[in-house]
Symmetry: C2
Subunit: 335 residues, 2 copies
Amino acid sequence: MQIEKPYLMFVGDVADQLAAKTAAGIVDWRRDWCVGQLRLPGCRADLGLEDLDIAEGVRRGARTLVIGVVNAGGVLPEHWISVIVEALEAGLDVASGLHRRLEEFPQIADAARHHGRQLHDVRIPSQSFATGKGSKRSGLRLLTVGTDCSVGKKYTALALEREMRAQGLDADFRATGQTGILISGRGVAVDAVVADFISGAAEWLSPEADPHHWDVIEGQGSLFHPSFAGVTLGLLHGAQPDAFVVCHEPTRRTMRGVPTALPSIRAVIDATIANGRLTNPGIRCVGIAVNTQALDEAAARACLAEIGQAEALPTTDPVRFGVADIVKRVREIFG
Amino acid sequence: MQIEKPYLMFVGDVADQLAAKTAAGIVDWRRDWCVGQLRLPGCRADLGLEDLDIAEGVRRGARTLVIGVVNAGGVLPEHWISVIVEALEAGLDVASGLHRRLEEFPQIADAARHHGRQLHDVRIPSQSFATGKGSKRSGLRLLTVGTDCSVGKKYTALALEREMRAQGLDADFRATGQTGILISGRGVAVDAVVADFISGAAEWLSPEADPHHWDVIEGQGSLFHPSFAGVTLGLLHGAQPDAFVVCHEPTRRTMRGVPTALPSIRAVIDATIANGRLTNPGIRCVGIAVNTQALDEAAARACLAEIGQAEALPTTDPVRFGVADIVKRVREIFG
């Protein structure tokens, strides 16, 4: 899957900004891929882009209509379907992060076929994978891992890609979830792959590369999350990272969606090294990314200092303070 | 999925006994569920059952035609399709371990619909699962784990079920792969579940039960197999075993299908406890099952003695010497 750029961002008529979270993430990281936003009457979200209709979007060069919003109830409203069909008729592909496949709607499927357009359902892998091989590939890889789900693994990986490039490294973000796929225009939702092929999908995602090239791979779940650790382990084995960054949210007490206590950062470092050695004996932790959103600046600085000292690793909040120190550490170790 | 018993075993016209391996496993463990075998001219496999045609199978009470054979090339020959259709017309359900879904063959799908019969593709989960909850369920659980794939995890679990029942325990085998599903008439092929739902599928497979009831759960893969460890970890978390048995093949040097070296039994015990504690802090190893098929009896006894002494655990070859000592240990610990 390779989603054609640039994008016309479809916001529909969602009730609040939260419903447009995926679209907002795309604009945060890839504003220059977005020619504008398409909003319907009553829309209460705003991506901060120019409002365009489909015809104007096409004139500005848009290749794909991106549906990065969730609608109440999870169903696709009839008046959204007609906009999607209109976009296909105007020559746009459509990329969607919705739960239901675009193909399931006959009007959309027919219009795509009739006009020769692509439908991208980024939640659902469209290709088949081989099982993982486990053998070492050339190139360098960094994986973000976490004490839990939803602690900033995607954001950290994107911040690392940006900072690595700024510091002169050759680096590419590799997406493993739907928002990341829309942000990078490619990738695979590893949690939606058939279980036998998790590590194989990760190997496909980050193929052999130039010895100095970095793939910065978006992590998923946590080795300590009882719902999703299998995905995390398969991704770790397939990604075979040389380096990893632990992402953490210091005010969280239990894992997302379950009553299980959060593991310590040290436990995550140890488990990641113990398991990661299977496919890359040289694996090492290069930093810690802490989401301090819930803390004021003084408390955030104190928290980072404490963790950084305890673990003797560059420790930062990527949003507040950037990731320059982690990338500096990467360059010191790997040249 | 609940496959109706008894079975008429379809052997087709396969070229050798190996092609009927799944069917032979069913007969090994559930001979009293098998009313007979249906062989076509030229068949070179023999399950040691009476040869019956469909009409006679139905007269003897068969409810399901079981296709536990693989045909050369992986395609379903035309003359097998007509036998399957004939079975559906005669009122039998059909259960298949073939790679392709029975539904994909229009004649079979039509006949099943027309005659109101069930088609069971045991490789492909037919239900949807919730994500794993991770909370403790009542009842006792034993999981077989391995140093590698294909080291006897299914056989060991079935032998444990039989011996536990013989020693007066209330025990049920829980199948996680296609052959196991046909042997137990139910279960889920966990390696075919969408990655997000591995542990959820394992929780579904082994629900809350009487406090003294044992589920003996068939393990999959190995925590040290770079292709499949994600499946193994999700299954471990969802199964939340109180007890586990490590299965091992002493002559194997590299993991099945990959160049990775085999882990030690000790490494597997340690990793299983470290990871299993997340959903069951009381997890413990109760024995080791060694497949000594490649050794003569003296060498086998020496191998078992050496491993048993090193690990201070009941150590046996389930095929050669049974699993009575392991079950004795289980009763000592759990009452």
